[in-house]
């Protein structure tokens, strides 16, 4: 959990930093617009995308309802394929296993292909503490690693950088010696530098986009080729799998894969769709000799069976981030942890439950529900955010609960309701006489209203109460 800013800061502090950075906001907007448009175009090119989404929701529901049996089958097939399996209860357990595997091989260098699950567990720090060099190989993740930062978007981790900051970073940390700050030159430098790492690495660590239980296969979806490098060149491969990232059958995989890539980046398929079934076999000149899969719980079992179960259907495409009006303005770092955007606002409070700071992430939403429409597996994200807010309300400070209770009582009786609207009518008449500015200043004097009113205009009520006009036959 090191490096992430959730703990010790508030949502307001983090978003204020982001809002004050117009360059970051511009880049975030451009990236999410591009990905978002890509998704819309890609889905317009297939037959009946909404039926596909509903089918995908049903598929994920079926798998989650049957998760123990699916995982059991997956583990049995993995073992039959010669892949070692470790059941990891939590982050420390998972990290310790990977460190043991590395130690058993006397590993010095570990190369990694993108894995949110290992970010979640803090694997890099654990391996470094055990004496390994860990090198991220996804270009964006490598940049973020060199800069000692955290990723700012699910699929575009280095969104917050530009060519100059990357060139400066490469010069400062990798001995690039004045590499030209243009994308082609920077990529060429990264290619050459990371290739050395691939060729010398002792262990390769990846995440898994989907595990297919029927054949014990791992599916990795990448564009750069680093996922292939990491699972081709080092003698050992370790895959860390969030326990919910599984399907039972290849039919299910086919559907979800087609929706994942279109929803994430508008591609029918990424450059490389890699299906791994066991380590290398006789007659093959490369591929790992030894393969491991770590099946990770780390709080997911608490979510399973709860009213928040449906968030476990998430396939990590990022479509909700790209469509969210809040994410667009504040970017990924505002969410303070590994998972950002709408799915992060739901998942972080659930997985990082011990940290009280996580609860307020449910407020990082306008409840516009655009995320629900974009989600390829039709997760009712808005419902989950509301459920989190209800759970938070139970724990709200006494003053706030008293205020809500007072309002609720006031409007529970027709007589009290009429009385308050009459008062409001008087207030409206006064406001109209005083004008917008004076009214705004007055509102801000109300205890607790100042922060709410900041950034909002106070609308002046139209003259008269609806009830009076109705009675008079004006309406």
């Amino acid at each position: 959990m090191t490096g992430h800013q959730l703990f010790g800061t508030t949502l307001r502090q983090r978003t204020a930093r982001a809002v004050d950075d117009p360059v970051l906001r511009g880049r975030t907007r451009r990236a999410v617009d591009r990905f978002g448009l890509g998704r819309v175009l890609a889905l317009s090119e297939v037959a009946d995308p909404d039926a596909l989404r509903q089918a995908a929701r049903a598929v994920r529901a079926e798998v989650l309802a049957d998760l123990p049996a699916v995982l059991e089958r997956l583990a049995d097939r993995l073992l039959a394929n010669g892949v070692s399996v470790h059941w990891a209860v939590d982050a420390a357990d998972a990290n310790a296993y990977v460190a043991r595997v590395a130690a058993a091989r006397d590993a010095r260098t570990v190369v990694k292909s993108k894995s949110m699950a290992t970010e979640e567990t803090g694997l890099n720090e654990a391996l470094e503490a055990a004496g390994c060099r860990v090198v991220e190989t996804d270009l964006g993740e490598w940049i973020v690693q060199l800069a000692r930062e955290t990723p700012s978007h699910l699929i575009a981790p280095a969104l917050h950088h530009d060519r100059h900051s990357v060139a400066e970073l490469f010069d400062r940390t990798t001995g690039a010696g004045g590499v030209e700050p243009v994308p082609e030159a920077l990529n060429a430098w990264a290619r050459a530098r990371l290739r050395e790492e691939f060729l010398r690495a002792d262990v390769g660590v990846t995440g898994v986009n989907f595990a297919v239980a029927d054949t014990g296969s791992l599916v990795l979806v990448t564009n750069e080729g680093n996922g292939r490098m990491v699972t081709t060149l080092p003698p050992v491969h370790v895959a860390v799998l969030g326990m919910e990232r599984v399907v039972a059958t290849w039919d299910q995989l086919d559907l979800l894969l087609g929706l994942l890539t279109r929803s994430a980046s508008g591609q029918a398929l990424t450059s490389y769709t890699t299906v791994l079934t066991g380590p290398r076999r006789a007659g093959e000149v490369d591929g790992p000799e030894e393969s491991h899969v770590v099946i990770l719980d780390n709080g997911r079992s608490d979510v399973l069976g709860s009213e928040f179960s449906e968030i476990l259907a998430c396939i990590r495409c990022g479509a909700c981030l790209n469509t969210c009006p809040v994410y667009r303005q504040v970017g990924g770092h505002s969410y303070g942890w590994v998972y950002s955007g709408p799915m992060g606002a739901v998942l972080t409070p659930l997985l990082a439950r011990r940290h009280a700071e996580a609860a307020e992430l449910a407020d990082a939403s306008t409840l516009c529900a655009a995320c629900m429409d974009a989600c390829p597996v039709a997760i009712p994200i808005q419902d989950l955010l509301l459920a989190l807010r209800r759970a938070n309300a139970v724990d709200a400070p006494a003053g706030r609960r008293a205020a809500w209770r007072a309002w609720s009582s006031a409007w529970s009786s027709p007589a009290a309701y009429r009385a308050t609207t009459r008062l409001a009518g008087v207030g409206g008449w006064l406001a109209a006489r005083a004008g917008e500015q004076a009214t705004g200043r007055a509102v801000r004097l109300v205890p607790g209203a100042r922060r709410w009113a900041h950034g909002r205009d106070v609308p002046l009520p139209a003259g008269g109460r609806f009830r009076d006009r109705w009675r008079a036959g004006d309406v």
């Binding site: 090119e45 059941w87 270009l139 699972t231 039919d251 398929l269 490389y272 791994l276 719980d297 069976g305």
Partner: protein
Amino acid sequence: MTSDPVPPQPVATESGDRAGFLGRLRERLAGGLPYSPLHPRPAPVAAVPSVVPLALDADDLPGSFERAAAVAGAVVHRVATADGVGEVAAAVAASVGARLAVTTAEPEAVAAGAALAGVGVEVVPYDRAAGATADLGVTSAVAAVAATGSVVVDAGVAGGRGASLLPRVHLCVVPVGRLVATPGDVLRPLAAARPPSALVLVTGPSRTGDIEQLLTLGVHGPVAVHVVLVGG
């Protein structure tokens, strides 16, 4: 750094507490998964649908393949018979200034390699060391996907994984009879038999937009993919 003969398959071990892990999940699922009235439990799907591109012309798979490959950034060459492959291979090699090429064990790749040797390219069977310095990697494919412009490389058939990955340019020779319509036509049948150790659907060159969301090719994998479609 050379290809070692595969050591005896290490014994796969299981660790952690499977019974405890799954027991906890069964406990959590004892009451079933809750759903709200607004978004009720979805009905199970009898037959999982496929994602079918509207542009796919099922009667003209080669044409669909060419169009989709262009979108993915792969270059497609059509030749009528296997005799035409050598000329195309030589032209590709010349255009990228290839001096060293590696080939997989597949007959189509070996044949293309022989043609390349005939025009002065150094051609060796793929292994890590050669692959890392080669300009050109020559493979065949067990299938090609018309909907996406992908070629499917099988590590078992090819004898390894890296010939289509390490060199700067990937040349893939595929008989048109191995064309299928959609990725599902490659993936769904994997249920029937044990899949190979590594199967990759290669859809155009390696790419990234990680710097300023500007597309550049050839980050870790090849910068160019040339597909020679033979026949039809």
